[in-house]
C-alpha cells in the first residue's frame, strides 16, 4: 500500500483562555496500514503537541468517548479508518455538548442529565426477593431491549441533529431510544400517562423533525428511525386517551 502523507486540520480552543480565538492548526502525519483517526491523533500528541485535547478510553467503539466531527460528520475516531478519508482531514469537536477544549467535549454530563430527566430505571412496586427465580421474558422482547441498549452514548446522533443544535433541551434520538427501551420492558410499571408526561412533549418525541441525520450517522447503526417512530406512534395513541 502506498502510504500517503495526511494533513490534519484540527480545531484548537481553550475555554479557560477565551482571549485566544479558536483557530485551526494543521499537522502532517505519515499514513500507516490500518490507521484510524484515533491512532493518528495519538501520533500527533506524541510527536507534535503534547497539549492537544481529545478523548478516548476503549479504542474499540465501546465507550463512545472519541466521537468528533471528522470532515464535518460526527464519527468515532477509533472506528474511522484514514484510508477511507481524503488526504486532508478536518477535525472539530462535536457541537451541542459543552466544549472542554480542542476536540474534547463533555457528553457525560449531558447523558447523565438525560437519564435523570427520563428517569431511566425500572419503575416497579414489586419488592425484590433474592430467593425467587427471575420472571421469564420472551426472547423477542429481550432482543428488542438489547438492540436499544447497544447505544454507547457517543452523542453522534445528538450532534448531527439540526433540532438538537438549536433547541438546547431536546433529547434527540439517544434520549427517545432510551425511553423506547423502557416502554417495551415488561418489568417497568409506568403507566401510559406517566410515559406521556415524560416524552409526549417538544423536548421528546414531538421535537423531532424527521431529518434522519441520527439514523444515517449512528456509528452503532441503531434502528433510530424505527425507535423514534415507535415512540411517536405510541404517543399518538396515548395522546387521545390520557
Amino acid at each position: 500500500m502506498s502510504n500517503r502523507t495526511l494533513t490534519f486540520n484540527i480545531f484548537r480552543f481553550d475555554p479557560y483562555r477565551p482571549e485566544v480565538a479558536p483557530y485551526m492548526q494543521s499537522f502532517s502525519v505519515e499514513e500507516l496500514d490500518g490507521m484510524t483517526v484515533f491512532v493518528a491523533l495519538n501520533k500527533i500528541r506524541e510527536t507534535e503537541d503534547t497539549a492537544i485535547k481529545f478523548d478516548f478510553v476503549c479504542r474499540a467503539s465501546i465507550c463512545g468517548s472519541c466521537a468528533m466531527l471528522i470532515n464535518g460528520r460526527p464519527q468515532l475516531a477509533c472506528k474511522t479508518l484514514t484510508r477511507n478519508l481524503p488526504k486532508k482531514i478536518t477535525l472539530m469537536p462535536l457541537p451541542v455538548f459543552k466544549l472542554i477544549g480542542d476536540l474534547s467535549v463533555d457528553t457525560g454530563a449531558w447523558f447523565r442529565h438525560l437519564s435523570l430527566k427520563t428517569k431511566s430505571w425500572i419503575h416497579t412496586d414489586k419488592a425484590f426477593d433474592p430467593q425467587v427465580l427471575e420472571e421469564r421474558m420472551d426472547n423477542q422482547t429481550a432482543l428488542d431491549i438489547y438492540e436499544a441498549e447497544r447505544c454507547i452514548e457517543c452523542g453522534c446522533c445528538i450532534a448531527s441533529c439540526a433540532t438538537a443544535n438549536i433547541m438546547e433541551d431536546f433529547w434527540g434520538a439517544a434520549g427517545i431510544n432510551r425511553v423506547a427501551r423502557f416502554m417495551i420492558d415488561p418489568r417497568d410499571g409506568r403507566s401510559g400517562k406517566e410515559y406521556f408526561e415524560v416524552i409526549g412533549s417538544e423536548q421528546g418525541a414531538f421535537g423531532c423533525m424527521g431529518l434522519m441525520a441520527c439514523d444515517d450517522l449512528c456509528p452503532m447503526e441503531l434502528p433510530l428511525q424505527m425507535q423514534l417512530a415507535f415512540v411517536r406512534r405510541k404517543m399518538l395513541g396515548l395522546g387521545f386517551k390520557v
Binding site: A162, N165, F196, F206
Partner: protein
Amino acid sequence: MKLQHLLTKDSKTEFYYEVLELIAGLFLVVFLTLHILFVSTIILGPDVFDALAQGMDAYHLGTIFKSLVIVAFFAHFIVAGRRIPTRVREQGIVWRHAKLLRHPNTWAWVFQVITGMAILVLGAIHIWVVFTNSPTGAMGSAMRVQAGYLWFYIALIPLSFYHAGVGLYRQFVKWGWFPRKPVGYIIIVITLTIIAIGSVALWAFMQLEVS
C-alpha cells in the same frame, strides 16, 4: 424546573399541534395533487377543462375546497412554521450545521423551509387571483397565463411540489409507516411526474387561442 416551564407545562398542546400538522399537511398534499391534475385537463382540451370546472361548481365543490384550503394553508403555516429557525443565531447555526454535515435529508429540509417562505407569498397571491376571477374557465386562465403569469407558475409549480414531496416524505419517516428509502424514491418519481404534467398543462394554456 423554571417557573414559566412549570406553569405552561401542557404537553397536550404540543400533541394537538403535531396531529394538526399531520392532518393539514396531508390534506394540502392531496389537494395540491388533485388541483394540478384537474387543471391539467386543459391538455385534453378546453371543453374538458370547462366541463370539469362547471361540474365542480354545480356541487359547490369548488367553494368547499377553496374554504378548506385557506384554513389548511394558514393552519399549516402556523403549526409547521413553529419549527422554522427564526432567530438570526439559529439560522446561522442551521446553515453552518447543514454545510458541515453534507447530509441530503438535512439539506432537503433547509430548502423546504426556504420554499415554504416563497410559497407563503406566491401561494397567497395565487389564491387571491383565482378567487377574484371566478368562475374558473379555460379562456380566463389561458389569458392570465399568456398575460405574463407563465413565469409565476413556472416558479410556483416546482416550488410547491418540492415542498409537498419533502413534507410527505418526512411525515412518513417520522411516523415510520413505510421503510424510508423506497418511500423516498417513490415520492421523487411521483413529484417529477407531476411537475412534468403541470409543465405540459402550462404549455397547453400558452397554445390556446384567446379571443
